[in-house]
């Protein structure tokens, strides 16, 4: 039971990160119907920017008050990563708008390769370790098993991650449901041509969708950096596929679905590693993806796609 509770907490933390990335996939897929393959790498870019800002603030400028530092890092990382998201869309996807469906998928894969190698060249291929910054936590339960004592802890780090995710989720849901921008996005999602005819600037709306997705991915990258303390140029690939799985599981195009899917994937991965085998945890995630797509193509909260002939 103790072990289960600890795994549950870890799973929710990891799931929050996946959920944040998944929102980027789900929004882009909803609006232009393509898998933004480079989104995982935008997450990686966000992690690297966070690292650089953090180091600049602490080691170079000498700020010591951690909450302020973290807040500044978060905002700067979101801004700069958004610029990356915007640029990727502008260079690789916008010229192909209205082209056949495979073309943006290929440029997305190309962009993913470009981003990974760009970071590898400019920042080096070796992993970047960052010592844990936020220590301590709340001890929820102490128990002893045959193996030894077990302590269920909810660290401050995990609290920060889960709370931030919840706050951002709320903000973005409000943004989509209550603001003119959100309305324009939903309009483009339903019928791009009609939205354009009614005066919605479709290109701008799509760009903003990418910017929003990238900003959330930056948050996820920052969380990942703080939680694991190790990043390299390749983290985006696996995280991206898992987040995409999360988006599909939750029902692609649905914001709450992405979050739910993220949490489920996080839990599945953590429990699989905890109870079965660590080596095959990725297989578990990939199998879920296949199973969901085959038996439940519209996901848990998604609208079923109606095919018109």
């Amino acid at each position: 039971m103790d072990y289960f509770l600890q795994q549950l907490i870890n799973g929710l933390t990891l799931g929050s990160i996946y959920g944040l990335i998944a929102i980027g996939y789900t929004m882009v897929y909803g609006i232009i119907g393509m898998i933004n393959f480079a989104h995982g790498d935008i997450f990686m870019i966000g992690a690297f920017i966070s690292l650089a800002v953090f180091l600049a603030l602490t080691t170079v400028l000498g700020f010591a008050f951690l909450p302020v530092v973290l807040l500044i890092v978060l905002i700067v990382a979101m801004l700069f990563t958004s610029a990356w998201g915007w640029t990727v869309e502008r260079l690789a996807y916008r010229p192909l708008r209205g082209s056949f469906r495979l073309a943006p998928l290929i440029t997305a894969i190309g962009m993913s390769i470009v981003l990974q190698n760009f970071v590898q060249i400019t920042q080096g291929a070796r992993v970047k370790p960052l010592p844990p910054q936020i220590q301590g936590g709340i001890t929820l339960m102490e128990g002893s098993t045959q193996v030894g004592d077990i302590v269920v802890r909810l660290s401050y780090m995990q609290i920060i991650i889960i709370v931030t995710t919840l706050v951002l989720m709320t903000v973005f849901t409000l943004l989509i449901t209550r603001t003119p921008l959100g309305r324009a996005q939903r309009a483009c999602e339903q019928d791009r041509k009609m939205a354009a005819l009614l005066g919605v600037d479709v290109d701008r709306t799509i760009s903003l969708t990418f910017v929003m997705g990238a900003a959330l991915a930056a948050v996820a990258g920052f969380m990942f950096l703080l939680l694991y303390g190790v990043i390299d140029f390749y983290i985006g690939f696996l995280a991206g596929i898992k987040a995409f799985t999360a988006a599909v599981l939750g029902g692609i195009g649905s914001l709450p679905g992405a979050m739910l899917g993220g949490l489920l994937i996080g839990l599945i991965e953590v429990f699989w590693s905890g109870y079965f085998s660590v080596e095959y945890k990725d297989v578990a995630a990939f199998s879920i993806l296949a199973i969901v797509l085959i038996f439940l193509p519209s996901g848990l909260l998604g609208k079923p796609e109606v095919e018109k002939v």
């Binding site: 690297f48 700069f80 708008r97 209205g98 190309g110 390769i113 760009f118 060249i121 080096g124």
Partner: protein
């Protein structure tokens, strides 16, 4: 929303139009020629500013491992250079491509298409010339470039391998319209089946294992094809990607069977009707009474892969004329119509997966015997992406396109190894090979934006009424799943 697809005739025009439109907020786009300079400058300045923002934390700063944790180093020089490069590049693009009435690219494009129109049957002759060139290549190389013959033939083998993989994948993606992002799985199955068979059973050599490997790969094609029968388009792509990764992870973790990350070594070389290509008395050179030279082994490998690739091509060409090939193409164009007309789409899809996988398996066996050592490292998603890129960049469904794209992309990447002179410009630390994949990715994006239908823009229809003529690639559906 762009204008309707059908009204745009040449694929070249679309990206240009989109670029120009989006660049408009930067400056006045009146009269493309004369008033454009100020706008071009402003636009280039914006691009440079953006480059500065993007590069700030990557080019300008670098986090490195230092004694007391991580340390941040500044590289302002490189940062400023990168901004200047973007400024000049964007300005040049604005002046010569985006904002003039006579873009350079259009002139080149028009000349190229003009060329193929002017000489009827150019494509056919080009194909024949390429075939002859491929057949005599080893002799040309050993005679004229004997100092670097090994390197060149090695490169030719590599390109040929990708041509074969591209042709194999072309059956699945180009003909049947099933977007497969996990093709490398079948390559891996082929490689591992041969490696395991050869290392466990003494009597199995390359030529006995080859059909077995193809058969096993085809079987896996069917196994992995079954669950995804109902999926289309992007979803199909992502599930096949997942399958590819699952196979790789299993190969990586199943130590007892596959050797895990250590891989399998000591895979035998192919023999020539039982004769080994070695120096000994029972070698092929001694048997036929000519001088042994290590290069012979490479030439032999080259001819094997050439033969395998040509078989792939021939089978594909013949299959297109058979009912099954017709069914593939019909399914690509419209699956629902296809089913309504009584075609069994399940079997059609499965045969496409199986036959595509079989050729992937052949190529995998060849890869194993060429390397003599395989490990899961060689079968990452990147390989799938490269193969798919070759097929799509060449022009889906176009056999010659695959060759062109493989030569451009793989040959181009290898060229970077020979750019030693760049170290004189950028200093001794400069290693162009590091930029290989970056340039590969950029080329993928650039070629796709420039020619979304691939480098070869025409297709041969498989069924014709009255006369046979080439059609534009826009007329062909491409795995869009509708």
């Amino acid at each position: 929303m762009a204008s309707p697809e059908a009204s745009i005739p040449a694929s070249v025009q679309k990206p240009m139009g989109a670029q120009g439109r989006a660049a408009a907020p930067g400056g006045a786009r009146s009269g493309a020629g004369e008033g454009g300079l100020a706008g071009s400058l402003r636009d280039a300045a914006l691009a440079a500013f953006l480059a500065g923002v993007l590069g700030f934390f990557f080019i300008g700063l670098r986090a490195d491992i230092a004694p007391g944790g991580l340390d941040l180093r500044a590289r302002w020089g490189a940062w400023i250079v990168s901004i200047l490069v973007v400024f000049v590049g964007r300005l040049a693009l604005n002046l010569f491509v985006f904002r003039t009435s006579k873009p350079v690219t259009k002139t080149i494009g028009a000349r190229l298409t003009g060329l193929s129109d002017a000489v009827p049957g150019l494509g056919k002759w080009l194909t024949r010339a390429l075939l002859v060139f491929a057949l005599v290549l080893p002799f040309v190389v050993t005679t004229f470039f004997s100092s670097r013959d090994r390197q060149i033939i090695d490169l030719a083998i590599l390109i040929m391998t990708y041509v074969m993989l591209g042709w194999g994948l072309n059956i699945v993606v180009g003909l049947a319209g099933l977007l497969d992002l996990g093709y490398v799985a079948f390559y891996a199955v082929g490689a591992y089946s041969f490696a395991l068979l050869a290392t466990h059973f003494e009597f199995i050599g390359f030529w006995t294992a080859l059909p077995l490997a193809g058969l096993l790969a085809a079987m896996w094609g069917i196994i992995l094809g079954f669950p995804v029968l109902r999926l289309r388009g992007d979803y199909l792509a992502i599930v096949t990607l997942a399958f590819g990764e699952i196979i790789r992870v299993v190969l990586l973790n199943w130590y007892e069977f596959t050797g895990g990350p250590n891989g399998i070594s000591g895979i035998p070389k192919p023999t020539f009707f039982g004769l080994e290509l070695s120096r000994g008395d029972d070698g092929m050179a001694a048997f036929f009474g000519f001088e042994y030279d290590p290069i012979q082994r490479f030439i032999y490998l080259y001819y094997i892969i050439l033969l395998l690739a040509l078989i792939t091509n021939l089978v594909t060409i013949r299959l297109r004329k058979l009912p099954i090939g017709r069914a593939w193409e019909a399914m690509r164009e419209d699956e629902i119509a296809c089913r309504s007309l009584g075609i069994n789409t399940r079997n059609t899809k499965l045969t496409a997966f199986a036959i595509g996988a079989m050729f992937g398996g052949f190529a995998g066996s060849f890869f194993a015997t060429r390397q003599g050592f395989i490990s899961p490292e060689s079968f990452t998603f990147l390989e799938s992406a490269i193969i798919l890129a070759i097929v799509v960049l060449g022009g889906l469904g176009s056999q010659i396109g695959v060759v062109v794209a493989a030569v451009v992309m793989i040959g181009g990447m290898e060229l970077l190894r020979n750019l030693d002179f760049l170290t004189y410009i950028f200093g001794p630390d400069f290693d162009p090979v590091r930029y290989r994949m970056l340039i590969f990715g950029l080329a993928m994006v650039f070629i796709m934006v420039w020619k979304p239908r691939g480098l070869v823009a025409t297709r041969e229809p498989s069924a014709v009424l009255k006369e046979k003529k080439r059609i534009g690639a826009d007329m062909v559906a491409q795995g869009e799943g509708h």
